[in-house]
Symmetry: D5
């Protein structure tokens, strides 16, 4: 994985993001750290860390302290920029134009009713929380090639 | 699970679905079968079976044969209605109005860029297929209650 | 209140509703029952009963039994039409065109961020459930006239 | 509640807000005041104060005077920025992308017709004002956890 | 005015209207009555009568009785079709495609802020009711030709 | 009316307006003039003056001269900023989010077909001009309170 | 031109059209008449006749009489279906999907401001009527091939 | 025509236009030239010149040279800003909000199918080019007043 | 290829299609013919034949004759249903929901400007016709698997 | 081809593009290089190079090195601006307003189902990748003039 470029921030996205996002991504780029590496240091899942970078998750005081250390950002600046509560959902317009993100959207569009039917039969009427929720991305490799495995786990 | 009602088809959805959908759902209701039960008989995952009921997946000749047996539908009728190729994606308008399906949409809206960043760092530039793709729903229970676990597995 | 007409179903809405809706509304009209009267008999809140009539809430077996009695609808017919799980959210397009419903929409549009800020300060980061949720409508009268009081109560 | 972070302003929202909003939020952040604390000083409900911060409510001369004192903002500056009439409704696009605000929107989408039917039966044909209107947020706690209770009270 | 054709109902609008609309318009056409003539008999303004024909206003028992007489419609049928509360706003999609209605929409689009500014200066912060509201259409003729004069009168 | 605040310009609207708008509104605010006062001096209706401030109406050379005097703006600057022809309609997106302006929009949505039917019966096939058009706002007060009266007068 | 097929009505358009449209088009098809031929008989321009067929123009009593003769439709039926006033603009959604109609839309999109600037310089502030308006289509042929020439003539 | 003001550029349009647009319009304003005057000098139709000013048409080297002379803009600057190919269609969103441009849009909306039917009957299946295309605006005056005549001429 | 199912018509599409579409698809299904087979008999490209089935291309008298023979449809019926001119573009809403069609849409979204730049450099300012246009689909197979090759050829 | 102007960047597009785009286009303009010339030097197809300029394709280290040489851009600057992964699809809103790009969109709209039917019959159920995908533009000339030929080749 070392040879893959790390993810950086397309600066034309900045007007849609909180001020913490360019701060965090710039430090990540300067230190050439992957989300996996940062996540290990902070002790959280890497998707959660990436969501935090995009302003989609709240940082705890411990997260801020560790991010400050790992990324060499003054703790005070991070605290100020990450104070308050995330204003979620504004990073993009729907439908997503990015092909990779669109594929996830397409899964919801095509399988939405199938998920609902199976979830209802398993759990009864109700809903899967998208907030009391965790998610992870894994890589599996078999003879057919690489597979991306995304797991969503939400409280019913 | 036996005590949960089975999923049925809201008839106001019919104009958006292929003719196979009301046929299949009516038989399912008459026989009081859950997707889990049907899936076991047909030998496919229950989300795939539900997707097939909603016209989102292609039925193989074996699927048709088994569905015909399990659901007591004349094979000829099923063959005729399930011939051809699925015209996917028309079961609903986006954004989804159904709260349960909306939660999945919201996950894409909020976590889209986080997934992309982590997937890119793990796999490089590219895309996760939404076609060469499988998915399943599982139920986990711990002291906090029930958890719905959805797994998406797509070829990179 | 006896002199107010009861609410009936605009038949041009029927294509957006499950088959149970015209059945229930027709019986309600024939028996000239208000939602308040039905709710008292069934033992649930009247907004919940109205939501059930519009296909937005799931009926328990007890609900079905009582509705069948109060409304003189054969239990079998109601059971068949109310089986399965509600496919919520399809009764109207947003923004609502109906002025009374639009006022509620406008409150969300104008006060949305204010609610979020106050809720976050009171509860921390998180969300108010729209599912594990109850709501009621009350009438208050003072020297200035009548006031409609709507209460939303959701699990955090 | 003291341990909860206070609500601050996501600076990427500023282009949608009047100039008073960043002034007020910056002072609130500098003084570490919750809306509850400010509301107590000003003598108004905390949702109304939050709405005023987001440019959704008009400030009376008394409000301006008290806000100036509580927040240490020169009265002249506040008077100038809060003069005129609020241009309401522009803080966000609908449907709301923020999950917490979306839940309120979803309640309108799902319960809209149920509210209308019950309100009509209680009050006759007419409308609940969204202007001659007050609202509050309360926190209730029982063995199941915390509950957010939102009350809307509008002139009929 | 006698030589002007009377307004009739474009039948392709029927799916958007309550069942009372085709009943009323058909009788109006059969009796060749203008809205002015009907309004005189019923004792209401002609715009209000037209709104009632399109399902946008509630009919009182007296309205129903008079309409039944003027239009030779069995009172029972009218009572049944006009019972309940109007579900307003669904006769058309916005922006209006009809050029005549579009002109009114365009006035709102172009003069909206000017009306708001002048209304605010005259009445203070607040709103003009669109419900506790009356409106009329008059014809004036001068040397330049005919002028349509529309008056809106709403409670502040 | 003297005690009502005057209308000012929400600066977040500026990117949608021609350069004359902030010039005019700033001078109005500095001189504390209502539209009524300015209109009297310029000799035009106050809604027309407000429309001119928002870039929705063309200023004649006389208007420019008088506005320059009343508002103490160098005539040259006004002439340069008000030269050319208004590019109308861009002050807001439709549907209007501002509640006061929305009420006017709602009147069009609900009464559109009723206006058309009555206008057609009075004038025959044709259209009311939104350009060769004048409009005014008046205040009436009776025992029920204040009423806003808006009159639209357009060439047929 | 005799060898060109005549224009007929795509029956899937019928739900968007008044009942006169299928009547007129069916008769036109049965008699194999082009709009040019009908227009000559009726004595109006062929675009106006086509607009009338699509419900976009009002028929005078003379038009109805002549159409009845040319197309062998009982006068009574035509009178009944063409009574009232056209409800214009509903034949299609915008942007037009039909490529030929889209080209006209594209001309407005690309040349809109250029037309406005030139019209304003020629006529001053104002508007070209789309109602007091006539239009025609002509065919010119030169060495480069055929040219379609569309002329719009509207009262300023 | 000398007494009509010339068309200038609303500066709030600039973010939608190429850099050549403000350059050209500013010079036009400084020299007080109408499009008619410029067109005569450049030797092209005035609508084409206006389209070029709005970035909707490509300038030939001769156009650039003549525009540079007529408008006193350094040739080098014009060459640099007008190099490349026009990125057409971005000057406005559809539907047009400007009333004058909307009238053209409305003509397409109402007469679209009529144009198509007549064009098809005259030319067979095919399309009128919006690219190999010319257009002009003329002014006609008769006893009823002024008429704007727009001619579109496109290759079939 | 013989073992692949042939394409049939999802009947829920029928309301968007001309009456010829279900006629043609039903005959195709009854005779179990692929588009390739039909195209060979008719002597046109198979994409053109498929487009004709979906009402997107005009059938010549020869096409109609051959289709009538190949598909055993009475010539008279086909002539009647295929007379007139295609009303193109209404088979689906954009963006396409069908994943396979969406991929083509995505190519336009992502590569649109790149195509334009390269086409402009190769051909100058202008446009590729989508009407004087042909297209074909081919299958290539190499060690990596199957490749779909779509060729678009349009007059500049 | 030498006499055709080269493609440049409309600067009003810059806010939608990554920072590499203006860097690359400015250098291209300064060196007067066509995409064909750059593509030859870099050893990739010219559409791929154009896509890379618009931020729609990832640059390999070799691409960066060669582009740096051909365009005289410091390698370090290019590396920094082209690091990370492309955030595709944001160069324009759909439907495309640019006429040349719209033609491609129109082909998808009109031929979408025809392509799907033929592809399904040739390849079975599945999808053509828009990622594992290559495309090229060619120019063909015959007696009828120039033809643009676009080839899409995607993995099934």
């Amino acid at each position: 994985m070392a040879s893959k470029p790390i993810a950086t921030l397309d600066t034309s996205l900045i007007p849609r993001l909180p001020p913490s996002s360019p701060t965090l991504f710039e430090a990540k780029k300067n230190k050439s750290l992957s989300f996996e590496a940062i996540a290990k240091e902070v002790g959280r899942d890497e998707v959660a860390i990436a969501a935090l970078f995009y302003g989609q998750a709240q940082a705890s005081p411990e997260d801020i302290e560790k991010l400050s250390q790992v990324l060499d950002i003054p703790a005070e600046q991070l605290e100020s920029q990450l104070s308050g509560y995330p204003d979620r959902g504004r990073t993009m317009d729907m439908p997503p134009k990015e092909p990779l993100i669109y594929r996830l959207y397409e899964i919801v569009q095509n399988y939405g009713y199938a998920y609902k039917a199976v979830l209802n039969e398993k759990f009864g009427d109700g809903i899967m929380s998208a907030i009391s929720f965790s998610t992870k991305v894994e890589k599996e490799t078999d003879e057919k090639g690489d597979w991306a495995v995304i797991t969503l786990r939400g409280k019913w």
